[in-house]
């Protein structure tokens, strides 16, 4: 085979690969301006955006670490409209893990963006002191709860037998202030306002961090929706446009994916480093 023919063949192969991809592949996350943000992860509106495939690495820098790589990559698209930016994260995960419990862990994903857009961004591992990162975190169990799963132990363990909760005694009026106060006594996390406590109103939680172990509730407003695809998850997260991000400007974004069936939780996750994020100019 002549060199010319070899090159021609290679070119044809590349063309076939490109044809198979629904949208052009980008080496950075580029948000397409749209008139209206898609309402769901599978809306046709997402096809306008290019797809970035981000390779995931195990979090193996701080203990406890993830010692074995799991989810290989996450496919990301982004669209922007007015003061909001939306991301769609898709990854392969054949097993649904959306039931919390002892020894059970949840599927989830997150996006992380530096609070301040600057040339020297914070550490991609959860930011660093005085250089906060904003995180929007989606989890499969919260989605199930928002989708209508009952906030009860029987929804998690269908065969659970419960004799009695004191706050449901016959002498106590259901839903009354007394019943609520009594139930809170047995749910200290609820009593102190921990946002982990159900029932959820949103599948997405806003967090802020200034380094590993510092994650705390962040200024809110993010929303989202996750759906099962054939053999994986498709999750949309909408947040406010990062401060100062406009066409011809750049910031950074990082992604993380948790695979519940691999006992991934907290620091045990698959993650990326910083990836450039920009917004395309409207035509």
């Amino acid at each position: 085979m002549t060199m010319k023919r070899k090159l021609a063949l290679a070119g044809a192969l590349m063309a076939t690969v490109a044809c198979q991809t629904k949208a052009p592949v980008a080496n950075e996350v580029v948000a397409m301006p749209v008139a209206k943000l898609p309402a769901a992860p599978q809306d046709s509106g997402w096809s306008a955006a290019s797809e970035h495939t981000a390779k995931l690495l195990p979090q193996d820098l701080v203990d406890p670490r993830l010692m074995k790589a799991s989810t290989a990559e996450v496919r990301v698209r982004a669209v922007a409209s007015g003061s909001e930016i939306a991301f769609r994260l898709e990854w392969t995960d054949p097993v649904v893990n959306d039931l919390p419990g002892p020894g059970r862990f949840l599927d989830g994903c997150a996006i992380q963006i530096p609070r301040v857009r600057e040339a020297n961004p914070p550490d991609p591992q959860m930011g660093q002191a005085a250089k906060p990162v904003d995180i929007a975190f989606w989890r499969a169990d919260w989605q199930a709860s928002v989708n209508g799963r009952e906030d009860s132990i029987r929804a998690l363990y269908p065969n659970a037998a419960v004799d009695h909760y004191p706050f449901e005694a016959k002498s106590i009026e259901p839903g009354s202030a007394v019943a609520k106060e009594m139930a809170a006594r047995y749910a200290p996390a609820q009593a102190v306002g921990n946002r982990r406590v159900g029932p959820r109103v949103s599948p997405v939680e806003d967090m802020v961090a200034e380094g590993p172990g510092t994650l705390s509730p962040g200024p809110g407003g993010s929303r989202g929706k996750g759906e099962r695809t054939d053999g994986g998850w498709s999750v949309m997260i909408v947040r406010k446009m990062p401060e100062g991000l406009a066409p011809r400007q750049r910031t950074q974004i990082a992604f993380a994916v948790w695979e519940g069936s691999k006992e991934e939780t907290g620091a045990r996750k698959m993650r990326t480093g910083w990836i450039p994020l920009s917004v395309k100019e409207s035509k």
């Binding site: 406890p64 670490r65 919390p100 002892p102 132990i153 009695h164 921990n194 994650l215």
Partner: protein, 375 residues
């Protein structure tokens, strides 16, 4: 990792944080020989603290029939296996602790119980333990003995739960050494559940946080013993404060039993946490078993306990168990009377070592009547 001193191992060991002892350390002594497995303690705790949604399976206090009862299933066997049993050289531990044997990427050597592991809170409790004339139908490593092991959180000096939390959501109170999960800060990663070798932190799926025994701190703050202590039918428990061995004071009941008489021993000291619930070992169990569970002091402890009838101080102090709702930081014996005292030396309770005995003849000559044995 820092180097810290663990007196239960007779040596220094590695720990995630430097040594920082509380002003005083909550501690307890349980006499396994007196427990009747009535589970009143379990229920006292359950109704007080864990009757909520997501707490259904939780027993902050549990009582298991050893050798085959566990909660969660095989909690101790799994870790002993991982630690290869652990090796003592006299009173010095030469094996590895859960901190020293932490694999790469972990803060602590641990394992995660699954939901099902909590579903048999005392398997083996009804096993036959006596003579079977026809012989047993199967051979087991431990044939016909058992005893009851009551367990709460050990409020360890080197808590593995605290060391394994990457968020620092678990803290040890400087005023009393009680170990608590900050319910506002916890994000339910279950690292503590994996790390605690005693499996005394529990994940609550409804609150999304981990919860554990709080040593009834609102009671302790008022000088009152926790619920599982004051409700104990067998009067097997005494709560108090433990000193470091070199600071032991004989007038402190816990110091006396643990440091001076050495009759009460820690549970699995080889794990390396310096647990603060101490057990008087069962006297009837093969010591090959109890040595593994309570360390090398078992044979001496049993000898001392068996000799209590000739040791009025020890016998007297054992009479104070379950005699008062109050924590008794001090005690004294005078003749036949044992007194539990507060810090200032005021008497909280007085207990006679021998109750007066009245013998009433079955036939009352005076009234010419036969007495029946009704109370």
């Amino acid at each position: 990792m820092a180097r810290v001193y663990n007196w239960q191992l007779g040596r220094e060991m590695s720990y995630w944080y430097p040594e920082s002892r509380p002003q005083r350390q909550f501690a307890a002594v349980f006499d396994t020989n007196k427990c009747i497995a009535c589970q009143t303690c379990t229920l006292a705790c359950k109704t007080t603290w864990t009757s909520g949604r997501g707490q259904e399976y939780m027993l902050w206090n549990n009582v298991e029939s050893k050798p085959y009862g566990f909660y969660p299933l095989a909690w101790d066997l799994k870790l002993l296996d991982m630690l290869d049993g652990g090796k003592w050289n006299g009173s010095r531990y030469e094996g590895q602790t859960v901190f020293e044997s932490a694999p790469a990427g972990e803060r602590v050597l641990g394992w995660r119980p699954e939901s099902e592991d909590y579903a048999y809170p005392n398997c083996g409790e009804d096993d036959c333990a006596g003579q079977v004339d026809g012989g047993a139908s199967m051979a087991m490593p431990h044939m016909n003995w058992f005893y009851y092991l009551a367990r709460i959180c050990n409020h360890c000096s080197y808590p593995a739960c605290l060391a394994s939390c990457p968020r620092g959501s678990i803290y040890k109170r400087p005023e009393d050494g009680i170990v608590l999960v900050d319910q506002g800060r916890c994000r339910g990663y279950q690292e503590c559940v994996k790390g605690c070798p005693y499996k005394k932190v529990f994940f609550n799926p409804m609150t999304g946080t981990s919860e554990k025994c709080i040593a009834c701190f609102p009671k302790i703050e008022q000088g009152i013993q926790p619920q599982c202590f004051v409700n104990c039918i067998g009067k097997i428990r005494m709560a108090g404060w433990i000193s470091k061995p070199q600071d032991a004071r004989p007038e402190n009941p816990i110091d006396y039993l643990v440091h001076i008489k050495k009759v009460a021993l820690p549970l699995f000291p080889q794990f390396g946490l310096e647990p603060n619930v101490y057990y008087i070992p069962p006297v009837h169990v093969p010591t090959a078993f109890t040595r593994q569970m309570f360390g090398p002091g078992v044979d001496d402890a049993i000898k001392t306990y068996r000799n209590a009838k000739n040791d009025p101080d020890l016998a007297g102090l054992l009479c104070l168990f379950g005699s008062s709702e109050m924590v008794m930081p001090r005690w004294r014996r005078q003749g036949d009377t044992v007194t539990g005292l507060d810090e200032k030396g005021n008497a909280l309770v007085r207990v006679p070592m021998n109750e007066p005995v009245h013998v009433r003849p079955a036939y009352d000559k005076l009234y010419q009547i036969a007495r029946t044995n009704c109370p």
